[in-house]
Symmetry: D2
């Protein structure tokens, strides 16, 4: 069985927030591990490249890169090599986050390179059609971000639920195996519970945790909410 793929699954994207850079990234990782150990809920984290090795040395929860490039070892200065991320201890990688979008063929190639190197792929999509397209590429995990929810401050629990259920339904028609996360507007335990009720198997969050006054408390709330 693939380590880290236990569901429900919460992945915290550290982005390039200063609150989650360097030493602070390690501290935040430890809080995520504490919440995971106490609740037995799977919590993964996606720190910046330079922090991966330090963090995988400090915690036992799944660590994801935020991106890898679709390249093999060689002359690719400045690129992110799957093997490098793997050796640093990562278990997987985000791919095609809305802030680091890829060409379609590069998403496809990157999923393949991740798999060849034993890395889990977590591919983002920002639209129902795009979600089906991503599902067709057979990643391990996908994060759907219904446009109705992104940046509006409207939590999934209050937005039109049919957008999420509709996307899940479309995805499941062509891919039964992919783990589906809900990726926008998650700030409270209620949002996490709602995401699961609507058919997803977890959430991808960022500022809701990283920018919280008490990230540990919010992570506990999220993890507890998966048990309702």
């Amino acid at each position: 069985m693939r380590k880290g793929l236990q569901t429900p699954l919460i992945i915290v994207n550290f982005k390039t927030y200063l609150e989650a850079t360097g030493k602070k990234a390690v501290e935040l990782a430890k809080k995520a591990e504490k919440a995971s150990l106490e609740t037995k809920v799977s919590i993964g984290i996606a720190p910046q490249f330079a922090d991966i090795a330090e963090i995988t040395g400090a915690v036992e929860i799944p660590v994801f890169a935020q991106h890898i490039d679709p390249v093999k070892p060689g002359s690719y200065t400045g690129h992110v090599l799957a093997q490098s991320i793997k050796e640093a201890g990562a278990e997987g990688t985000l791919i095609n986050h809305s802030e680091k979008q890829l060409k379609l063929s590069d998403i496809n190639d990157t999923i393949g390179i991740a798999r060849e190197n034993g890395l889990l792929s977590v591919v983002c999509a920002n639209d129902p059609n795009a979600s089906v397209a991503v599902a067709a590429l057979k990643p391990d995990v996908m994060a759907v971000e219904p446009p109705e929810l992104i940046g509006t401050g409207i939590p999934v629990s209050k937005a039109k639920p049919e957008v999420v259920t509709g996307t899940v339904k479309l995805v499941r028609r062509i891919n039964r195996d992919v783990i589906i996360l809900c990726g926008a507007g998650i700030t409270r335990g209620d949002d996490v519970a709602a995401a699961l009720e609507l058919g997803t198997q977890g959430v991808l969050v960022a500022s809701g945790i990283v920018k919280a006054k008490n990230p540990y408390r919010v992570l506990r709330e999220f993890a507890d909410a998966t048990k309702r």
Copy 2:
């Protein structure tokens, strides 16, 4: 009914070949029209942006842009606006050609913009998985280019046919309507006939026509082959 969507369909991509630039592009367009009129087979052409208006004034066959950008009217210097292509007389546009690849979300947006402006979308994919992904985005036409066929000089009629039939089957599971073209390795009438036998509804060709000593003769051969 959508003009230009009669199948079998042959689309000739003029690329940026000098043999298909300016006056020579107009001459080649006329040859394509002649072959189409004589055979009653639908032949479309995709010239360079600057040649579209002249060509749509000279011939009656469907003309496609080679690319449009996912932008609306406004401050987008150097971009290709759907409305501009439409007013120049184009009926559609290629999208995501392997030489002009787009981000997944841009393919999705560009198909939408094409539709809003009454332009047919012809989206390229270079891999079975990517083909299913493209089909999920619901373009009018898609061109699949099995990697076994690209640039190898091996015509589809001699390559492993199961690659093409397999891709068609996968696409049809999620999209019954899209017109599927075969997009690589087409140089002879036999290749066109083989592409149709394997379940596609036409071909996307470039050098096989543009670089031919007698493009009209080859186009006639292609068109005739669709009737076998």
Copy 3:
């Protein structure tokens, strides 16, 4: 002598504005030609790719593409070939507009390709240091857009003049020949006059003309202002 390089020089960028697309682009081009003929001031225009041929057939003033790609004839679907633009009648091209920015080496290559094809290069830069960098690449014309002026609504005549004079001075230290245009905040004749007083040899404008109620009247005002 290079046609179109008479100074002072006014270049109108049509961008992808609907007011300057298709037939409206041709009408606007004629107004620019009328203002140029009446005032004997050099006015160039930069329409969209698909409108170039129609416009060069309708007017005698210099026509520029908004962009070309650094490619040679060949397999470059969706790219803008210098030879295509040239055959459509363009005399030059904008390069590296802030809305279509290029890698440094591509700016360099594109200037070379323009020159090889007898096209004038008009390269944009949005910063004093970047302006010196562009000057080092030896384009025919460059448009400097002091950041103090872009999108602020503050005309050059009221902004700190030392930004413009300083940039001109820096550029002239390494390039005596390049024609320097001022490229932001130009909406009135006073702005044009101020740009010339500060050491530039003309202006690159867009919305100030295209979005004007009476583009011809504003162009006349601009052209007249160059004679103060």
Copy 4:
């Protein structure tokens, strides 16, 4: 005085070579440190992002990132933040390597962001004109790669020396302070000596060291050659 800016300067780019990934990257870094300590010649290294922290904890020689993105802390998933690299212990970063080229304005912005974060900028240019352009952006260090030397296997000591001396002369006309490295074709001590004789202050090397059977020996040869 800026640590690491002692000249002559040798920088070893680890690229994404497996021979310089993870543990092997640390081993190679130690060899570089040994050669530097024994010869008193300044040797810097540019490992992959995920290896920076481990390496800066293991050696005292200057460590450079291979790239940073021109972004500030915030929502930039998958980007490389200057602050992250800095906290991992890097002293600087390569910028615009030919395998990770940037838009002109991004090179400019990235140099500024590096400076604000106390990181040295090492900017690459692959052409005499582009070298002058880069010099205009005032980086701390620049690496010029005369096209005559890239990938030809012809060492700088045998190539036409006037290409290097000409580039250095052009650069010095507008920038007296930038440290100029020679960045291609360096495989032997003779090449290093030749690069210095022609007016550069060091070399940027990659496969010549990383792929060598005995990287330490070659580094010693390079370092010793700077003293001729």
